[in-house]
């Protein structure tokens, strides 16, 4: 299998990646325009909802939460893969992460920013959102620190700002490259400022390494805590279908899972659009696909644990809810979720699919559809079939306004991501160089060994 050439000229790496920053094609503007339009739909829906009240979303009692919370979890989940690739694999010295972690980390940041929108959109009185912040005030009125939603806010804030810092710190050497290669215009100024005068001195690199490692170490428990805290929104309540012990690991696994699937999607898009075949090689894709499958199985296992707990837990409410999910109004979604998220990943077992780009693209989209449905299946059925039979309600479906905002969030994410790709290098240049350098060293050693072996063999043969 073709991997990155070890003898690739470093200057070529620079030019290849920097090329992706400049001269957007017409298609880029078209797609950006579409993304803006999609986001506009979401904004329009939100303005309407702001003016009219949340009723336009077709919420009711008991359907207090709908697509907003489900999609919020979805986006939060997406964010976890960036951390997985950049932090966990960094610590584990998996060098194949290097060409792809940058965009994954950007994805982390942007999906968190998208998720944050849903926190706001979800509120009945969005204009009072600052009540949830622990800001000092004369009256000493503080938010309720006991609420999992507040933990959520704190965790997401921490995660978002840490991710941005991690992304930024990791990008400084590349920004310096950009600075050195741009000769005029706003970009030059921007890179000059952002690169902070990086010159690649030994002192800078030394501290850089320690810093990067430290943040990576922090990010791992942070990422785990973020999604387990999101899970406490549900697990810390008493409701059937939510009050489940296995939720925190289940959510974390789900997050990594959907994130990996999203990485495959974006990987394929970037590889195609920027012609990064040289760097985003199929060999890496294969590794990501295998990783995705592994996580899919972890997730599937935890999901079965959840079902088993409901089924054997001797809790009539949980049992009823599970039966309702499988046979009630939500059954099509529930089965589709199970199919997309637990059956479809088996495609990734086959070697020929692991590198088959159209198949992987389709699979990754299906996996993410499955994971979105999973979030919807966590949120909605508990409202429809909670404790109290009188208020069970199977006939309330999200309105177009809710769908519009969910739709718009994809536009928002696309805008952010597209701007990022044109302003910042989406492949880490310096780390690709490191990668090929270290690999070439390895190869040299190997060749030296081989040569020695051959000599020895030749010597033997001479006898």
């Amino acid at each position: 299998m073709k991997d990155i050439r070890e003898d690739i000229a470093w200057a070529k790496i620079n030019t290849d990646v920097l090329k992706s920053l400049e001269n957007p094609r017409k298609l880029y503007w078209v797609i950006l325009f579409i993304a803006v339009a999609v986001f506009g739909v979401g904004v329009g829906c939100e303005v309407y909802q702001y003016n009219m009240g949340l009723g336009v979303g077709n919420f009711d009692n008991p359907h207090m939460w709908g697509l907003y919370i489900a999609t919020f979890i979805f986006w939060i989940g997406m964010s976890h893969s960036g951390t997985l690739l950049s932090a966990i694999l960094h610590i584990m010295h998996a060098d194949w992460r290097k060409p792809i972690y940058r965009f994954a980390e950007a994805m982390t940041t942007f999906s968190l920013m998208t998720a944050g929108l849903f926190v706001a959109v979800h509120l009945g009185r969005i204009w009072q959102i600052y009540f949830a912040l622990p800001y000092p005030n004369m009256r000493q009125v503080w938010p309720n620190f006991q609420s999992p939603l507040l933990w959520d806010a704190m965790a997401i804030f921490t995660y978002l700002s840490s991710s941005i810092l991690f992304l930024y710190v990791g990008m400084i050497p590349d920004l310096a490259i950009c600075r050195d290669n741009m000769h005029s215009g706003w970009r030059k100024k921007l890179y000059a400022v952002l690169s902070l005068g990086w010159e690649g001195t030994d002192r800078q690199w030394r501290n850089f390494r320690m810093t990067y490692l430290t943040i990576a170490c922090f990010l791992i428990p942070l990422a785990v805590s973020v999604h387990s805290i999101v899970s406490t929104d549900f697990a810390a309540s008493q409701q059937p279908g939510w009050h489940i012990t296995s939720f925190p690991p289940y959510f974390v696994a789900g997050a990594l899972y959907s994130g990996c699937a999203a990485i495959i999607t974006l990987f394929i898009i970037l590889r195609y659009v920027f012609k990064f075949e040289e760097y985003m090689t199929k060999s890496i894709l294969k590794k990501v696909a295998r990783l995705t499958f592994a996580i899919a199985m972890v997730w599937t296992y935890l999901k079965w644990v959840e079902f088993a707990q409901a089924w054997f837990g001797h809790n009539a409410h949980d049992q009823h809810l599970l039966i309702e999910k499988a046979t009630g109004t939500y059954a099509p979604f529930w089965w589709m979720m199970n199919f997309c998220a637990s059956v479809v990943p088996f495609m990734l077992v086959f070697k020929r699919f692991q590198t088959n780009i159209p198949v992987l693209f389709a699979v990754s989209l299906l996996l993410n559809l499955g994971m979105w449905l999973e979030r919807f299946m966590i949120v909605a059925p508990t409202f429809a079939d909670g404790f109290y039979p009188w208020t069970w309600d199977h006939n309330q479906w999200p309105s177009l306004v809710q769908w519009g905002i969910v739709f718009g969030s994809f536009g928002w994410f696309a805008i952010l991501f597209m701007l990022f790709c044109k302003i910042f290098p989406s492949v880490s240049m310096y780390e690709v160089k490191e990668m090929v350098y270290h690999r070439s060293l390895e190869t040299k050693k190997l060749q030296a060994l081989q040569a020695a072996g051959e000599l020895a063999a030749a010597g033997k043969g001479a006898h």
């Binding site: 503080w142 006991q146 810092l165 710190v169 490259i177 010159e199 030394r206 501290n207 922090f218 805290i229």
Partner: protein, 176 residues
């Protein structure tokens, strides 16, 4: 006494290593290898640093400080906020409950750690930095640069070492 800056660029990392080793070992008069030599590299290059000798990293102390202080502050401030004039009474829970406060402490422990680490990085790495006297964009591409600062007298020796080790280019600038 005026100082002179020299920047030599190498493509071959092995040669650059040799130069560094040589500079450190030779003990050229008017040139202190520990203080006056900076190696610029396009990639993180642990080997180079080894040859440069033991130059300490102190970022981790910032990290420790940030994480511990922020974590402690958060626990303390959360409890204080809960136990203030407008205590929020919650049925079935004390007004200052520990489990939620631990969760928040945990988050702020990380937040503080990350923030102060980055701060520490900027301080330790001397960023943001002005342009150093001599810089080549090649350093950010594929070449390794060795920036030395020396007495006028030593510069000839240094140049010759650089040339011997196949320096691609030697930039020179008079110091102030």
């Amino acid at each position: 006494m005026s100082k002179r800056h020299l920047l030599a660029l190498f493509t071959n990392f092995d040669e650059a290593e040799k130069v560094v080793t040589e500079l450190r070992n030779l003990g050229i008069n008017g040139f202190n290898a520990e203080k006056d030599m900076i190696v610029k590299s396009p990639i993180e290059h642990p080997e180079v640093e080894e040859f440069l000798g033991n130059r300490p990293v102190r970022v981790q102390w910032f990290t420790l400080f940030g994480a511990v202080v922020m974590g402690f502050l958060m626990f303390w401030l959360t409890s204080a906020a809960q136990g203030n004039f407008f205590a929020q009474m919650k049925g079935g829970k004390p007004i200052v409950p520990f489990p939620p406060n631990f969760v928040l402490t945990y988050e702020l422990f990380i937040l503080g750690g990350v923030y102060i680490t980055v701060l520490g990085f900027l301080i330790c790495a001397g960023l943001p930095a002005r342009r150093s006297p001599l810089y080549s964009a090649k350093v950010s591409e594929d070449q390794i640069g060795i920036l030395v600062q020396s007495e006028e007298s030593a510069s000839v020796t240094l140049k010759s070492i650089f040339t011997r080790h196949q320096a691609l280019e030697i930039q020179e600038e008079a110091g102030k």
